[in-house]
Amino acid sequence: MSKWESVIGLEIHAQLSTKSKIFSASSTLYGKDPNKQASYVDLGMPGTLPVLNKSVIKKAIQFGLAINAKIANKSIFARKNYFYPDLPKNYQISQLDSPIVEGGYIEIKDSNNQNKKINITRAHLEEDAGKSIHSNENNCTYIDLNRAGTPLLEIVSEPEIANSKEAVSYMKKIHNLVTYLDICDGNMQEGSFRCDANVSVRKIGDKNLGTRTELKNINSFKFVEKAINYEIQRQIDLLEDGKNIIQETRLYDENKDSTKSMRSKEEANDYRYFPDPDLLPIEIEEKYIMEIKNSLPELPEIKFEYYKSNYNFSEDQINIILSDIYITNFIDQAISLSKIEPKRVVNYFMSLIYSKLNKEKLKLHKSELKVEIFCLLLELIENKKITKNNFKNIIDSIWNKKNGVNEIIKSYTTDSEEDNDSVDGLIHKVISQNTKQVEEYKSGKTKIVGFFVGRVLKDAKGADPTSIKNKIIKILESV
């Protein structure tokens, strides 16, 4: 048994998903040509001034409310002064004394699978720096300021995380929350979600914290775990050899799986923080906070329990559903629209849709697939009018926008297996066989719905025309 225990605190940087930057009108899109998204303000040209993008305030409040934190009625932007070529003004606009979010917590599972509360010290708004790209080829450093001024929410935890597993669990929980709230796209490869870890070790039973080191800019769950494990072992080795830990900033090298010193505390900058005189304090009314509170989606924890006890979804399934607010909403709508039992709806979704999303790295909300179509297709499968393979082909076609949804479905539906007993089946058949009339309806000739009702009634004598009409309209509206 080791006589050492580790103490970890995380600082997570979540890029807030806004169209424009936090203090300028430039776009925040990732991957454009270098410096194509840097305005005079982003460049720090003489005389330019920052103008706050108010949407970041709402997103920060959403996060704060979701972790039961206090939202500051008055919070202040401060300048953090240090020189670096990809920091155009040579100061970063951040928050020090009065962050917008203070306190709060989230719950994770510890190593015994028990709930553990991790307190969050604060979350504050700041601007991101640009990027320096060092080239060994011609001994040059290139600067790309596209990222300069992208809004960040820095989420600082208390040093209450016991080991790398808990750290990953905490990070995943925050990742899940910010993507679920749709305030951050969570893309770790593009750096939209990254973290610094403060790591120290002490003898078990010690009350005081040991000297800590800070691991900078880790951008994957796997590396967080590895970097922390390496760093804990490095510190224990040093202490067992009777040596001291130096308070310093270290960088994790994923290729060597080790950390190396960047700078020690003695070399650390004195950031000379002071309130930014260009920006007035952010004042937030209680009423506005309440408004956001009331429009906040049901939080993942609550939904988790609901799915489990009501629908008996597996935990893996629930985690997937709750990993993206668009998937959550999609499933909720599908459950309420479809006559098929929820568990089967989710099974279909996982095997037919999610596997595709996962395999091809797609985003559900960026596809043309509407919930209504998904439900219609499920019914077609259940009624054996299409095979699962065809379903997949149809989804692929919809994704690639090859044809109108109706034509796609029609081309995969086989008439011979038509189930004439089902009125729904009849409706779908009539709709899919009369694409011309569907187009007419779409172009505004809504009276043509009578044509469809007539056709259905011809084969379904005695059925309720009003309910048929409503069903037809619903389908026609969704295609």
């Binding site: 003489p46 103008v51 002071f274 005189p277």
Partner: protein, 491 residues
Amino acid sequence: MDIYKKSITELSELLQKKELSSLEMTKYFLERINAYDSKLNSFISVNEDFALEQAKFADNLLSRKNENSLLAGIPIAHKDLFSTKGILTTCGSKMLESYHPPFDATVVNRLTKVGMVCIGKTNMDEFAMGSSNESSYFGPVKNPWNLTKVPGGSSGGSASAVAARLAPIATGSDTGGSIRQPASFCGLTGLKPTYGSVSRYGMIAYASSLDQGGPIAKSAEDCALLFNEMKGYDSNDPTSNYKIKEEKIKLSLKKENVKNITIGIPKEYFSDNLDSKISDILNVSIETFKKLGFNFREVSLPNHNYTIPAYYIIASAEASSNLSRYDGIKFGYRCDKPKNLEDLYLKTRKEGFGKEVKKRIMIGAYALSSGYYDEYYMRALKIRRIIKDNFMKAFENIDFLFAPTCPTTAFDIGEKTSDAVAMYLSDIYTTPVNLAGLPAVSIPIGFSDKMPVGMQIIGNYFSEEDILNIAHLYQIETDWHEKIPEEFNCE
């Protein structure tokens, strides 16, 4: 026709009645600059082609539209810290010796739109840091009233140019007195508006919480005309105040309406620092106001002695951060052959900034550094609050304050360059107004040893209309504002 003597209203009349085109008027003032500015050094750059282009645009405007601004076609000189698109903007520094901004400052944009013609960019203390215009990389400016004396600073070039009638009017900026002090030294009228009423966008920053653009002119009337077009809410400036009145200022105050106005005389401002001759002239001018019917009352503005230290800590702290962007990487001066990144920073800033700027960056960085922040910066902010509160208390009993603009008249070039504290003390009556964010106008009220003396009228927030009206009423009664330095009082 003695065009150089004419007020903005008179010049405007010539243009509107087509007795003179803007092109002719612009050429006239460009010729005056050519003839006289070698004595004064009040301009850093004069772009004749650009000015003539703008004049043609103005003439076009004047011929097409009937309802033009009174400022359409009038030449103006901009202090060289207002960004002018494609036109050299140096801020008086080697650091920006060849900087051509890619955009116009909001102020420049507004004035260009109404048809004003930029005839040149005026000399100034480097990054607006100075009270004598001696810290300019482009050399000191001379005072038209006596070429061995300073014109004041930091808007010394603008003041010198207008005083010598090389430009009918000019823009300036006032962080600690930089409009009012040179106006006072050169016998002009200068308005420092309420903080937030003139956009700072594109005005190169010295101390963001204090900087404010404003007019330097021959009279309160001219000031009002220019201020009318400079002021206004600007969404590009987050400190721009949405309370700014949209309506244009009118100078309509009549003698019969002044009997309800009470002016406060702060006793601390008339103490030992003040030159006794200036004190006498102030008293004569107060008598004139009394005769006009104004009421006077002595008031107290305590803690006056802390103003200068508080001002220099706050302004320097902000400057130390604002000027960090001049690093040789993106724009402006870059040193030759740096060894590495740190060397690039050090050499660029060592060579690109002058002595006064470096001094203030060091003071500011020191005041903000860990361990000193509370002792210096926070205390300075507390003093700032106290000074503001003192003004607010005074305004409970009086309507406006009169105060000297400067403790002395213009001093000799070189006289105070070696004594920083003596130089800083020349701002003692102007800085409190900046710390509180109030408006104030400095008007000429006489001469001491042949050098002009100025007096400030300080008002509550957004009272520009009132203080300009009071100044205007005085200028109807007196002719100090019409005096022209002899050497430049000819065609």
